[in-house]
Homo-oligomer: 253 residues x 2
């Protein structure tokens, strides 16, 4: 982290770009990114930007050409090598706009590798814009110094999700009706049994899963039901709390 | 929780009112609360509301008189007895509006007993409206079925805060520069030593505490420095994450 702090002064702007990054790579940013650098951040030739693409680590790049119509960057120094993310998804029943943006941002900050919306009986949201979730995840990844942007998976129905689930991926099921095992203990018990590996965290809709849904989830051998305390939580709060607890019990905190 | 679910159907509206609550108590709501019940929720005589005041538990009250100019409620059944809260404060360097509202709401959901803004060298916010923090905490308490609204303490400078600190109150210091002890372990170590009791969680400003501030905090015998993982977190994310971890390690989760 110290190291990154030093480079911050050299490169205040940090962007995800889906282009190959290596020493000498010449990059033409998208129109949006070019606008951001030139108009919003008022950058010009000689200014630096940090780039990452999810594969090649983080690179310092300089603006080597800028005009009204085009912008060229040249990558010249690797700041950090690529590092594998923890493999943990957030699977959540989508909620209204502002809180949805918020969940995508916070889940990214908290290190998820994938974001998967799931439609439940009480999910009260119509068509979902994957683009919007992705844009929020990208911006959060740029700000929180991640080397990847989480994968945003298409929304699907709960029964379809479970029918196609890879049983090797454990599912931390935040069950509102449960009063038994506290989240951290439940997770540590699973991990003591040597069942580490890929995980997902499942958060229900406002109003909760219905009884049939809960029964279906609990029946799955990969499901690990946990509870999140005695108070009522909003879905976005529950998502952040669950991820934090997962990070402490099984992740890199 | 089951019990509360049943009463939800009887009383969809749940309000904090600073009035005595007991069987037969006659209550005149504030103009704001009256407007909310009559105009927003379109309630009338015979409709029920759940009330709490932070002292007398939760009561079911009926609207016994309603006119354009006045509204009267009569409390008639205690739904839940009063329960003591955990004694944990959130002490945080205030940030811009939307995130400030958000922190007040989430901290309330996560069960804090007190909210205390602290001014640090990098705190970039002018005059703070305690009223606004309190209004957010009140609304969150009403929604998440708490029996209290957290106390909102006036903002003060960091050195003043520490100079007047009750050393019996442990301070979970979320230290960005620390890479050593993970939060949960650090908290459990303290609690194993038999040092439970009142706590506070301290979150710095965007940009972090400066070195002198960090040294000052770490010097305090009641400070328990913890770290929150390898990624950069926004201050609001850090507050929620820290509270969740505290709840699991030492609270009621």
């Amino acid at each position: 982290m110290k190291l990154w702090d030093e480079t911050v002064s050299k490169a205040k702007v940090r962007l995800y770009m889906d282009v190959p990054l290596n020493g000498g790579a010449v990059i033409t940013p998208s129109a949006d990114d070019a606008h951001y650098m030139l108009k919003v951040m008022r950058m010009g030739v000689g200014d630096h930007v940090a780039l990452f693409n999810g594969k090649d680590g983080e690179w310092l790049a300089a603006i080597t050409q800028a005009s009204k119509k085009s912008l060229t960057l040249t990558a010249n120094e690797q700041l950090r090598p690529q590092k594998n993310d923890l493999d943990v998804w957030l699977v959540f029943a989508p909620i209204k706009k502002a809180r949805l943006d918020f969940i995508a941002q916070k889940a990214t900050e908290l290190g998820v590798s994938g974001i998967r919306p799931v439609m439940t009986r009480r999910t009260n949201v119509g068509r979902l814009k994957d683009d919007r979730i992705w844009a929020n995840a990208k911006e959060a990844a740029e700000q929180c110094e991640r080397l990847t942007v989480p994968e945003v998976m298409p929304a699907c129905a709960l029964d379809e999700l479970l029918a196609n689930w890879d049983p090797a991926r454990k599912l931390m099921f935040c069950d509102e009706e449960l009063s038994g095992s506290a989240a951290h203990n439940a997770l540590q018990k699973v991990s003591r049994k040597g069942l580490a590996g890929p995980w997902a965290i499942l958060i229900g809709p406002e109003g909760g899963f219905d009884d049939e849904e809960r029964a279906l989830i609990r029946k799955q051998p990969y499901a690990v039901p946990v509870h999140l305390g005695p108070r009522i939580l909003r879905a976005d709060t529950a998502a952040i709390a669950a991820l934090s607890i997962w990070q402490v019990a099984l992740g890199d905190w």
